[in-house]
Structure formats: structure tokens, C-alpha cells
Symmetry: C2
Subunit: 414 residues, 2 copies
């Protein structure tokens, strides 16, 4: 399917609506521990892929790729090689000999030698065009296995998409607490693939440095606000099952333990934003800038009271504020696992900054969770005046690799 | 002067040549401690600007700016405001109220609130065009105070300069162990300047993350080689005086305690490089890839033996290797303080990676130290096949700010 149709959404809404009513999961009192609390690295093998439930590392290197192989055996071979390489790198090892015999071309490019894993995770995803390509071809015989709640994201109101930053047959999300390590991972996977894939677009991003681990506040976005306070705590296994990991009965048994990824590159227009008063900035987010508390009062983790009015009789948290529209109460209880990174690319040709948020969220269903929420935000979010969505993609995230001999995507392609 | 002429070089060569013969400073046994060993931040005030003698932090944000003020009083005012703001940020403080009264526009943009200084340093430099602009004007009455060993870099053989990445009236080098903190510093300095300056070009760069402080090896460049082994150890006060800090008698008393900065954006062509054998890669650098030892033997910090030949009678370290040509013995004893960062920008329009080294070196004399060394490298370096110099600039670095009430550049403009 080209875009997810309204029709395809209907089937699951009932089921998720029922879940939504039970979705008032108590929030943890403190944000999850940072990735650097794992000096031994993040295990690659497991029921879920790494790089989803772990708190975001300090750096992201993301790549969307076109697949140029023409049959499922060749695709399996590529994914098998990538699985071995990724597993090796997440143990802090090269992808193959970095120091071979003198006359031999090194397999690993070497820039991460001497370094530990630095919490590297490598996460792979399959785009809608892997199931059915733009020409309508079912190259790999998997079109009938595309999950019903997954497809290309529809157009959203206000989209300012750069055609060079859309979609992808495959994606790789490499995250680590060191930029060179994240970059090394993607570089070496591309090198292994050779002409079997072609990079379509890529994005580097960052989060608070791991060296600042003693700081436990919610990180701030480039508008200076704490961002992600209401996110799902990945230690909340119940919420992860309800909202993030594909379950038996969702319709695609091969995906059980996997997830769906929504990607939006959101440029933040710092110049108009920086000229606004504190009041306008806070009304836009629905939170206080100083400490992230909802405008209805309390501290950062106090539940917002959308009914509470100020002296003028208007709600203290504007109904069109970003928090009000993104809150589960405005989304039939639906929640997502947000795993975003800030980005700062070179300035635009006109000299204005090209900085913002590389938004990624993981959810069990794009159709029931991300898409309706983003429709609501696109229609009414007061923040829209200060942002532009310039990139968009979606990927279905296969479950984790069970151990040596297994490979990424085996439940779909095996 | 537009470019440094051969004539202007003659005066100082004698003096520096004499120094060169005494330049065999013993190398420290281990690289200097990392910046993160300073949790309290790097002091802003002092005889030298910060961000030079400190080991490179994990992140760089560099900006080259055009100055649009027209008289020295306005330039002084700008530099005074910047001094106060930089000093505040290097203590982990905002540049002014981030949380003002509701109706007021925040002074600080806020994205570094909650965070410590993270070893932030902010270093300012003056380009040749601040002394005499492109139209030949002496806008600030300082043309006669331009140091004789300083000017625009001359063209070098093989230059592939992007006209949008050359020069600058002023530069700001912000370095920190967190990317958001480095970026915040430059963003807020630009905001303070408003229309008094215009960004010409900028560059983000990175080094090993501070979280990896237990790793003490020399960092690797994006070709996988340890890079900078022979660099001046900034703890070597004698070498810093001889090669980095301007001294009485150099000809510009206002510059004493300052330095000169050479900037070269060096794109590294990873695709041809990654296809070369280990032997060719090692011959290009003159070192072993595994441990950085010179090809003449020993370990990383063993002095190279350029006379030592292999079984075929040829020198083990090729005469055209990068190390051989950059070594003090090939440069009349001249040394520089290299303070480079790797960079990874978005891919080129043709899809090839735009990654490499943002080379910066500090030296007492561009004319006697950097320029002849770079001429030699440009003429013969075996590495030239794999790199492209795409950006170039030079800045004279005024001494440090002595304390409250002083401002950056006061000895030149005060």
C-alpha cells in the first residue's frame, strides 16, 4: 500500500481504544539511567532489537537506504553479514580484520580501534518499499506479509518535506556514547553492503553527553524546553507491551517482539522563536521553561490539569499547546516511545540555521498510535509556527536476533 | 596585506631557525589528561585565552564571521559584551536571564540550562580583513598593528577551496565535552551580536567523547590512524613559549601571550582510501596502523628513524609519507600546536561522504611555522591523493582577558 488508508485503520481501533482506557501508567519519579551506566556495552542478541528500550545514547547516526538486490536469497545474505558485523561492533570489536597482512585491504576501517563499545546499539528497520517497491513489484515475495498497521506515512498538514529526505527500503539506527563510534558503525555496514545498497539520506543527532551522567534532569530541546517528560519509561514492562512491542494477535506473527518506527526530521526555526516572550514560549509548550512544570502547577512530573483555569477564566494550559495535543488524554489513551535526538546541520543556503529535532518514535501500531497523534498536532499545535517537518519515513522493526546463527529479519525472510 | 609575501618572512627566519636547532623537546610518555578531568570548568580569565593549551574537548563549534560595525568604539562594545557572555558560559551560567518576567524575551536561549560548564572554552580570533578589509579600508585604525608574521594564508598547491569556506573578520572557537553546550555558546554569541556580525561559515567537529576518558591512546582520524602523536605537549611550558605564544620582541607587543591560528578544512576521501591495502595506507602515514609506531620500528612514541632502510635498501619510512614531511626535522625544527577535530557533515550532492579533519593549529608565527610546513606537505605529501583542502582561514589570537573589566582584544583596541 502506498499510504495507510483510513479503511485499514478501522480494524484495530477498537482493540487499541480499549487499551487506551487503561493507559494511565504511573510515571516513574526519575528519568531512566543513562546508557553510559553500561560500560560493558548493550547486548545485541535478545527478543527485541537493542536501541529501542535503552535510554538514548549521546549520539545517533541514522541512514535510510535503497536496496539494489533483486531476490530474497541475496537480501538474506546481506542481512546475515550485517547481523554478524553489528553484533561484533556492539562488543567493541571490529567488523573483520582491521590489521590484515600488508598486501590486504583492511576489512574494518579502523577509526574505532582502541575504543570500547561505548553503549553502541545498531537497529535495523524495513521500509514499506521493501514489501512493495515504487514500481509495484514484490521483489522479495513478502508483500502479503506487510503488517496491516504499517505503511508509508500519509501527508500531514503543513509538511515541508525535502524530497531527498523521505522513505527508504531499509534503515540503520546506530547510537553510541561517542560520535566516532556511531559513525564507524554505519560506515562499515555500508562498506560491507557495497553496491547492494545505496544511501538515500542520513542524519546525525545528539543528546546530552554521557560524561554529564550526574545530571539527571530531562534533556532540553533547542528551544530550551525540557522535552519528553511524559515519555514511556522503558522499564515499565506493561507499557512497553501495550504500546511498543508487537504482540501475538496484532496480525503479523513474524513481527512479535518487534515494533514500528516513525521518523520525522523537524527543523526548529530558532530565529522567530528566540524573539518570543517567555509567556508565549511557555504557552506554546504548555510548560514552564525553568523547570518543565505544567502551566497548571506543581513540578515537572506533576500530572497536568487541563481543566484548571487562570484568573481570566481561560485554561492555564492552552488547548493548542504542544503538551495538551500530544498528551495521552487527547489521543484516546495512546502513547508512544519517543526516542528523539537534537540535530545541528550546516546552515541553509540563505544562512539561517538548520537545527532541530530528529524525531523518532517506536510504537506497536503506526495507524492507531503515531498517525492520529501527528494528525492532531499537524492540525492545531501552536508549535507549528516555529517548526517545519522536512523529512519523513517509517520502518517496521523486526524482532531481535536470538543468537549466533540467527539473522535480522529471519522471521520475515527465513 | 592580502597574502603573506616571501619578503615579509625574511625578518624572522633567522630567529626561528636558531630556535629550531634546540627544538628536540622530550616527548611526554603519555598524552595529556582529558578535558573532563576539570569538572569545575576551564577558567576564562588568564594571560592566554582558554581553548588552546587545554587538551581538545569532545566537541567543537567553530564560526567565521563578517563584522558589520564601522568604527572601533562599536567593535570594542561588541567584544566587551562577548567577553562577559563567554566568561559567564564557561562557568556554566547563562549569558543573561533565561527565565525573565513573562512578557520579556529571554536573553539566554536556554538549551544549556541544567547543565554544568562541561569544560567549555570560548576562543576569539581576528582575521586579516579586520585589519584591512577587502576594499582596502582600515575601518578600525589598526592596519598598522597587523603582526608581520600574520596574514591571509597563501594559495597552496592542490587547494580545492570552496569559496564559501574561506576567511573571516572574526572567529569564535567554542569547545566543550557536550555538543549542545558548544552549540549553545556560538548561538548565543551570535544572538548578542545581532546585525553587528554576519555568519560567513561554520563547522562542527568532534573528538573522542569525554565519557571514554579511561582510554588514553592517541585518538584516531577517520582513516583509522592515530593522529597527533608528535604534537606539542601543552604541559611543556618551554615548547609553548618557543612555538605557540607570541613573545616580546616578535614585533607586536599587543599580541604577547596570544598566538596565530591556521584553519584548514580537509575532506578525507574515504572511498579510495578504504580500497587501499594496509601496506599502502601505512606507507602514506609512515606509521603502523595497529599501534601508531613509526615504520622504522619501536612503539608509538619511539622517535622515527628516517635513515633506516629495509631489505630493499629503501627507507622504511617513505620520504613522501605524511609523518616524514610534517616532522620537525623536515621543517628546520619548527613545530606547531595541532588542535584538530574530526568532522562529519551531510553527504555531498553526489552521495559521497563529506567527512574529514577540521585542522586547526596554533603557532607563534604563521610565516615561519605553518606556511612553510604546509607548502612542503602540499607539494609532496603522499596523503594528498586521499584528501582535499576545502576551507582555509587564519586568525590572530589576542592574549587572554586579565579579569573583570578587561575585554578580549583590549591590548589591540583599548
Amino acid at each position: 500500500m502506498e499510504n495507510l488508508s483510513r479503511r485499514s485503520m478501522i480494524g484495530m481501533l477498537g482493540a487499541l481504544g480499549a487499551m487506551g482506557t487503561a493507559a494511565a501508567i504511573p510515571l516513574a519519579a526519575a528519568p531512566p539511567a543513562r546508557a553510559d551506566a553500561r560500560p560493558g556495552g548493550i547486548p545485541f542478541f535478545g527478543p527485541h532489537q537493542a536501541g529501542i528500550a535503552e535510554p538514548p545514547q549521546a549520539h545517533l547516526q541514522f541512514a535510510a537506504l535503497r536496496v539494489d538486490v533483486e531476490n530474497v536469497a541475496a537480501l538474506r545474505a546481506l542481512l546475515g553479514e550485517w547481523t554478524a558485523a553489528a553484533e561484533s561492533m556492539t562488543r567493541g570489536r571490529p567488523v573483520g580484520p582491521a590489521i590484515p597482512a600488508p598486501e590486504v585491504v583492511p576489512t574494518d576501517t579502523g577509526e574505532a580501534l582502541d575504543l570500547p563499545a561505548a553503549a553502541l546499539s545498531v537497529t535495523f528497520g524495513f521500509g514499506p518499499t521493501l514489501f512493495t517497491d515504487a514500481a509495484g513489484r514484490d521483489r522479495f515475495g513478502i508483500a502479503h506479509r506487510q503488517p496491516r498497521a504499517f505503511g508509508a506515512l500519509p501527508p500531514f498538514r503543513g509538511d515541508a518535506l525535502d524530497p531527498r529526505r523521505i522513505g527508504g527500503d531499509l534503515c540503520v539506527q546506530a547510537c553510541a556514547d561517542d560520535q566516532q563510534i556511531a559513525m564507524h558503525a554505519v560506515r562499515n555496514l555500508l562498506r560491507i553492503a557495497g553496491d547492494r545498497v545505496q544511501p538515500m539520506w542520513s542524519q546525525a543527532g545528539f543528546n546530552r553527553a554521557a560524561a554529564l551522567a550526574p545530571v539527571r534532569t530531562t534533556p532540553r530541546n533547542l528551544f530550551g524546553f525540557r522535552d519528553g517528560t511524559n515519555n514511556i519509561d522503558p522499564r515499565d514492562a506493561d507499557a512497553m507491551s501495550r504500546f511498543v512491542w508487537a504482540q501475538p494477535g496484532d496480525g503479523s506473527d513474524w513481527l512479535i517482539g518487534g515494533s514500528m518506527l516513525a521518523v520525522r526530521r523537524i527543523r526548529m526555526l530558532t530565529q522567530p522563536w528566540d524573539g518570543e516572550s517567555l509567556e508565549e514560549q511557555e504557552a506554546t509548550f504548555g510548560r514552564h521553561k525553568a523547570d518543565g512544570a505544567p502551566l497548571s502547577g506543581g513540578s515537572e512530573r506533576t500530572a497536568p490539569d487541563f481543566g484548571r483555569a487562570g484568573r481570566d477564566g481561560k485554561p492555564l494550559i492552552p488547548a493548542d499547546s504542544h503538551m495538551a495535543l500530544a498528551h495521552p488524554s487527547a489521543n484516546a489513551g495512546a502513547r508512544i516511545l519517543r526516542r528523539a535526538f537534537n540535530y545541528a546541520d550546516p546552515d541553509m543556503a540563505d544562512g539561517t540555521p538548520d537545527v532541530g529535532l530528529f524525531f523518532m518514535s517506536y510504537q506497536r501500531s503506526l495507524v492507531e498510535q503515531y498517525i492520529p497523534m501527528q494528525r492532531r498536532l499537524a492540525a492545531s499545535d501552536r508549535l507549528n509556527e516555529y517548526i517545519q517537518h522536512t523529512g519523513s519515513a517509517s520502518f517496521v522493526i523486526p524482532p531481535g536476533v536470538r543468537g549466533p546463527g540467527d539473522y535480522i529479519g529471519s522471521t520475515l525472510l527465513g
